[in-house]
């Protein structure tokens, strides 16, 4: 996916390269959760929670759907839009490239999307050396909780752990502006949950197009026109039970161009099948299979100058010890990647990979709520990944096998000073290059088979009250050998290990019970992410990363009505590595009203981006302005 997206954006929006391959570092981000005093009745864990690490109380995806006050009265209302669901997580920056269902990447603590690994119920959706996950692939209606882990994580910066929602029987449908439609159904099946979801959107939201031809009737180009070729469609089927996960996704996305051309037919389709089953003999361990088919077509060369019809297929099979043992975790898998180009049938790339991963850890290393330890307590983790790669050269059939060892370690010290609990963490982690970074893409961007893994050293300090989740998290990262694109005088690009970055940040999260029935949730991030490479962008801010992210959600709860006002603000981001193009400030005001109706029926009305703020987190790919949605949920007795 990333390969296609990078390819599409290579010339249209080159900031993507700078942004996504921009250096980043790893870190530890304990579970983000509402502090315990504000959350006396945490949501009941999913029956399949054992598939996840089970140690971290998760943050519910959206305070709107948080069941902290009266779960019986307020059943979960998952958001159809994954960015709405996840944006309460401190340290996480979401970058949608357009409207509902458009390509969306998640970036953790100033890291690139490639440096964060996503897992669903503990099953990795992308593995070491693979591209970043498009979050729009996720079955948003079936998700119940999420948290970030940067202690026992596999991603260079951290892991995004997503959990399937608790078992429920309901039917949900909704409509919205710009052709948004969705339909979802969930029910119990055996000991698990089956969820089906369909979502589509035209995303023909109005925009001003400064690149359109001169029109005497609109010389200043003030009139809006609908966004062209931005429709999305998603269908998914999910089964989740203790030890089991099956996910099938069919996701299709049209990719608009900067000129908003009406004849643009560029499309990206992704089919994903992910299956995990219990492995007999070692309780808690799993067999895991996956199959991903991606196709990018741009027959008229609207995005990247020349026509394209590229296909990629990745299949993998492996075993993961998962929760088999509290102090060790092992996994082994094999995957095969194959890429073909219909425009150039003589070209085919095939790579096989083997991964063997093992780690030893103290049981509490990834605990979000540190054990009270007035005298101080040490814990840690040590592990390594062995990555083997067999690259088949097209044409002559020759193959080249290489091996890489990627160590990782994490050490932390927890102590209590008066009423403040502190946790200091030191981490080292590496990330394997992706196939795009190693082998490039059709001559526009040449890979570098000699790439080494990028390395990161992180120091974190968490501060909070005793037995509560940290209120404040301070982190500092040093990244070395960062995989960074470089271009020669004639514009030919190649990945190199020349990047360096220094990242310092503070994350804050708090929920306050105001005068009943008011509740305020606050999320804030300050990030100082600087390029430290020996190049012209030295000391510039890494592109695409806001310096500030602030989000507040004010909730008013009544048995007959629940209202929520959400404000989200991002500032201080640049589109480009020289920091000449400042991204617009994101100011988004959302209003939700949840109205219980008779017979288990509930109506949710949403007014999003009320101030009609026009912004684009990817340069040239605007997001929609003001929009309205309505959602009906019919709940049945489980």
């Amino acid at each position: 996916m990333r390969l296609f997206w990078c390819r599409a954006m290579r010339t249209a929006c080159c900031v993507v390269f700078g942004a996504t391959v921009a250096p980043m570092v790893m870190g530890y981000s304990p579970t983000s959760a509402v502090p315990a005093p504000m959350n006396p009745a945490p949501p009941a864990p999913s029956p399949d929670a054992a598939a996840d690490d089970g140690r971290d109380p998760p943050v519910m995806l959206d305070p709107m759907v948080h069941e902290s006050r009266a779960p019986s009265q307020w059943p979960v209302t998952p958001a159809i839009d994954i960015t709405q669901s996840l944006r309460a997580l401190p340290g996480l920056h979401l970058r949608p490239s357009g409207g509902l269902g458009s390509y969306t990447e998640g970036r953790l603590r100033g890291g690139s999307a490639r440096q964060m690994q996503a897992q669903l119920n503990g099953v990795p959706l992308r593995r070491a050396g693979e591209e970043a996950l498009n979050l729009a692939l996720l079955p948003s209606l079936a998700l119940g909780a999420a948290h970030l882990d940067t202690a026992s994580s596999h991603g260079l910066v951290g892991d995004l752990h997503l959990r399937v929602a608790p078992i429920a029987r309901n039917l949900q449908l909704g409509i919205g502006d710009f052709g948004a439609r969705h339909l979802g159904a969930q029910t119990r099946w055996g000991h698990g949950l089956v969820a089906a979801q369909y979502r589509s959107a035209d995303n023909d939201f109005p925009l001003r197009n400064p690149l359109k031809p001169f029109d005497p009737a609109d010389p200043e180009r003030r009139q809006t026109e609908p966004r062209q070729n931005a429709d999305t469609r998603h269908a998914s089927l999910l089964y989740s039970a203790p030890g089991w996960l099956a996910l099938a996704v069919d996701n299709r996305e049209a990719i608009p161009n900067a000129r908003n051309s009406t004849n643009n037919r560029a499309k990206l389709s992704t089919q994903l099948l992910q299956i995990a089953t219990p492995a007999p003999g070692l309780d808690g361990s799993q067999w895991q299979w996956s199959w991903t088919e991606e196709r990018y077509t741009d027959r008229t060369g609207q995005l990247a100058l020349e026509p394209a019809d590229l296909r990629q297929r990745t299949i993998s099979a492996g075993w993961d010890s998962a929760d088999w043992h509290p102090v060790q975790r092992w996994s082994i898998d094999w995957s095969q990647f194959r890429a073909t180009d219909a425009a150039r049938p003589e070209v085919a790339q095939q790579v096989q990979r083997w991964r063997l991963s093992g780690q030893l850890q103290t049981p509490d290393v990834a605990s979000a709520t540190p054990t009270t330890a007035t005298a101080g307590q040490w814990s840690g983790l040590i592990g390594a990944l062995v990555l083997g790669e067999d690259v088949h050269a097209p044409g002559n059939g020759a193959s080249h096998v290489s091996w890489e060892l990627l160590p990782r370690a994490h050490l932390q010290y927890t102590t209590t000073l008066a009423v403040v609990q502190t946790r200091t963490q030191l981490s080292y982690r590496e990330r394997a290059p992706t196939l795009f970074e190693k082998f490039g893409d059709r001559g526009l961007f040449r890979g570098n088979p000699q790439l080494r893994p990028e390395r990161a050293l992180a120091l974190d300090l968490d501060l909070g009250r005793i037995n509560a989740l940290p209120l404040l998290r301070l982190y500092h990262r040093e990244l070395r050998d960062a995989i960074t694109p470089q271009y020669n005088a004639r514009g030919l690009g190649r990945s190199t290990n020349a990047g360096r970055a220094r990242i310092t940040g503070i994350s804050l999260e708090q929920t306050l019970a105001l005068a009943d029935p008011w509740t305020l949730h606050l999320r804030g991030d300050w990030l100082e992410a600087r390029d430290r490479s020996d190049g012209p962008s030295r000391n510039r801010r890494l592109p695409g990363h806001p310096e500030w992210i602030v989000g507040t959600q004010l909730r008013w709860t009544h048995p007959r009505l629940q209202l929520r006002y959400a404000w989200h603000w991002e500032a201080g981001a640049f589109y480009d590595s020289p920091n000449l193009l400042r991204a617009p400030i994101v100011r988004q005001h959302d209003l939700h009203a949840v109205i219980p109706l008779a017979g288990g029926l509930r109506l949710t009305l949403a007014a999003l981006n009320l101030s009609d703020n026009r912004h684009a987190r990817f340069n040239g790919f605007p997001e929609p302005g003001r929009q309205f949605r309505a959602d009906l949920l019919l709940s049945f007795t489980p």
Partner: protein, 406 residues
């Protein structure tokens, strides 16, 4: 013989000297000093994430840097009291548009007019250059279109910008001839057509001529009934200029490339530097880029002719990690040499090249320390000018009120 762009009114305090060879000043005209020379440089970020332009006073190398930042795909063309910035296909918010700036306010465009065709709104016009013919007429080379535009560069509003168009689709089988560069000579505008197919240089490039009096194509081969262009003995032509004596045109072709199964490009070396005699349209390969077995200079990238009539070439290894060299061309021997040239012009990443009206060469440098390198061939002196963006192209504005500069 030189080809003046315009007869400058007395009130006009500025003139332009285009490095493309369609400028005012040349060997037969009064010498221009650095005091009067202002270089305007199009820039791109090292990773193509943005672009801008810089204005540099040649006398003291004072730089106004990173002006009006936008996309990374643009070019600069000097014009009278200022310059045009041509926003190409990926020029950001000013893509497919031409903006005009003055030296008094070089960071704020006086006007920005689209080159997109209302009749073909989905076409990416991708303008490459603007060639001024007269006070109220210029030609816009639209690389992504079949139609060259006739425009009024002084139009006070966008409605008066486009005056007409000239269809060049007949010169390429796929209908888009890739008009890449042009100059004025002998009362005609000469336009180089690359004639690519899906960006593959599978045909020889071509030269067509337009009669500036009538805005019509000139038949360059009267032996056929059709209106013909002049087929050049090189492929993937990228630049054209008028020789200092005005008797010929010089065209550089960089040649095509073959891609292997992994899309690694191998140059074909079917480029070269071509001289076209304006008297009889005979072509002569002044410098051949060799063969894949024997390419003594590497792949050609750019050329220019300085005020002293010396031809200069940038060539080298186009692959990543490769480097370029500055060559001095000896046209009589059909060869080129680096002998006597400063080390700072050798084995570095050179992104562009231009000859200033005062006689020195300006080289754009990429790499970790992007910027400009001024080289005076008469003295051998060099002067680096650091910039934090990579120069894409350079053109020069001649100020006739140089005492008033700054």
């Amino acid at each position: 013989m030189r080809f003046p762009l315009v007869i400058a009114p007395l009130a006009l305090m500025f003139t332009a000297c285009s490095d493309s060879g369609n400028g005012l000043l040349g060997g037969g005209e009064p010498p221009v000093t650095d005091d009067a020379t202002v270089a305007v440089v199009a820039l791109r970020a090292a990773d193509f994430s943005s672009g801008a332009h810089a204005v540099i006073r040649a006398a003291d190398n004072t730089i106004d840097n990173n002006l009006d930042p936008d996309g990374s795909d643009m070019s600069i063309r000097a014009d009278r009291d200022g310059f045009f910035r041509v926003g190409r296909l990926f020029g950001g918010s000013d893509a497919n548009a031409i903006s005009r700036y003055t030296l008094d306010n070089p960071g704020l465009p006086q006007s920005t007019y689209s080159t997109q065709d209302a009749a073909r709104p989905d076409e990416g016009s991708n303008p490459y250059d603007i060639i001024r013919i007269s006070d109220d007429r210029a030609y816009v080379l639209r690389y992504g279109s079949a139609r060259l535009w006739v425009v009024d560069p002084e139009a006070s509003s966008e409605i008066g910008f486009k005056q007409g168009e000239i269809d060049l689709s007949a010169f390429d089988s796929d209908g888009i001839p890739e008009m890449v560069a042009g100059v004025i000579a002998a009362g005609r505008v000469w336009v180089v057509l690359q004639r690519l197919t899906n960006f593959s240089a599978d045909r020889d490039s071509m030269l067509v001529a337009i009669d500036t009096a009538t805005n019509t194509l000139v038949d360059l081969d009267l032996s056929t009934a059709a209106v013909d262009g002049l087929t050049l003995p090189v492929r993937n032509a990228v630049d054209i200029r008028v020789s200092n004596d005005g008797a010929s045109l010089l065209v550089l072709g960089i040649g095509g490339a073959d891609f292997d199964a992994q899309f690694n490009a191998t140059p074909r070396y079917d480029g070269g530097l071509v001289q076209v005699d304006l008297a009889n349209l005979n072509t002569r390969l002044l410098l051949d880029d060799g063969t894949s077995e024997n390419a003594p200079f590497g792949q050609f990238a750019a050329f220019t002719q300085d005020r002293q009539d010396t031809l200069w070439l940038i060539a080298g290894d186009a692959d990543f990690g490769g480097a370029d060299r500055l060559f001095r061309i000896d046209p009589s021997a059909a060869t080129a040499s680096t002998a006597g040239l400063p080390q700072s012009t050798q084995n570095v990443e050179i992104s562009t090249l231009a000859a200033s009206p005062a006689g020195d060469l300006w080289l754009g440098l990429a790499g970790n320390d992007p910027g400009l390198l001024r080289f005076d061939p008469r003295t051998g002196a060099t002067q680096p000018l650091p910039l934090n963006l990579v120069p894409i192209n350079i053109d020069f504005v001649i100020r006739t009120d140089s005492a008033a500069v700054r």
